[in-house]
Amino acid sequence: MPELTIDIEVLRYRPETDDEPSYQTYTVPYQDDWSVLDALNHIKDHMDGSISYRWSCHMAVCGSCGMMIDDVPHLSCKTFLRDYYPNKVKLDPLANFPIERDLVVNIEGFLEKLESVKPYLIHAPDDPLNETEYLETPAELIRFKQYTMCINCLLCYSACPEFALDPDFTGPAALTLAHRYNVDARDQGTAERTRIMNTEKGVWPCMFVGACSEVCPKQVDPAAAVQQIKVASVFDWYKSLLPFQDGE
């Protein structure tokens, strides 16, 4: 029986020679238990060692192998050829990010945004860390547990039209992680983060398209987190109008 094959169309961009990207098609063996990442690894190992893409864990944990598969953001390690066969599979780098090389995008902007929202537990300077226990009850954990599942794969940024139109928008994943710490009972950094999230590049450019949540491979639901920050921000603003503020 002749070997079954499937065409993989990959957007290639080699900055040292190319002025703009172009597609290159590879015909690879078809196996119904192969993910798109398996097909790429086959190309890299047996057909064209020059092709560049990111991957690491092959089990939807590291968040490295996100790409546009037939124009939809997916993790290539958990997207299977059998869902496309016998049609060809078109691979593009994650949308809305500058292309560094082939399927590799530049994520420096995201890393800066992630750092800017202070995604870690913050304690007040005068808080006696060594004298107090910081307990988190199961009920308190449930408030933010889903947001801890984010693997920073950036599929949500590729689905977000606001980020597409304004690359300075803080974006779904960074805002979700900010919210994750804001609702953590052990954290005292909400005021610091609110200042960042209430800027014109914070939560308010979000138009609640909801596409970020649809493509999230870990069911984090970033759109929910961003809307909940908006609600909290509104309460915060009304609170600021009160004559007597906290600490006065």
């Binding site: 292309i99 530049n106 809307q227």
Partner: protein
């Protein structure tokens, strides 16, 4: 080696690319129609204040084919707008009792029930 990141252009038709974008644009597109219909209702209140003749003239104007056509479109878009927000509501206002989150389907279901009840009351109570 020098880096030369390539930035892809966003097509002006980006909002046609997938179902989520189209649904979002439809929700936004409905807003002017709802705003205009609200204006029509406000005019009705002003006409009511001006007296029975003015109010009757406003009612007659509403019966013109143009007005009926606009109302049908505005009603369809208002329904579309409202239902899209009911769908999104559990994401904005999640409710949790102790260690249990209320399922999103339950929250949406309750809002549908209230929506339909209010609609029925409005139709029964506000008769022409």
């Amino acid at each position: 080696m020098n880096r030369k990141p390539y930035i892809r252009k966003i097509p002006t038709t980006w909002w046609l690319q997938n179902g989520s974008y189209r649904a979002y644009m439809l929700r936004e597109f409905s807003s002017p129609f709802i705003a205009i219909y609200t204006g029509v209702l406000l005019v009705g209140v002003i006409r009511l204040y001006q007296g029975p003749e003015a109010y009757d003239a406003w009612l007659t104007a509403l019966q013109s084919p143009l007005s009926i056509g606009f109302s049908v479109i505005a009603l369809a878009l208002a329904l579309c707008h409202s239902l899209s927000w009911l769908k999104l509501l559990p994401q904005v206002m999640p409710i949790q009792f102790g260690e249990t989150k209320v399922p999103q389907a339950v929250l949406v279901g309750i809002h549908y029930a209230v929506f339909i009840t209010v609609l029925i009351i409005a139709i029964v109570v506000i008769k022409p």
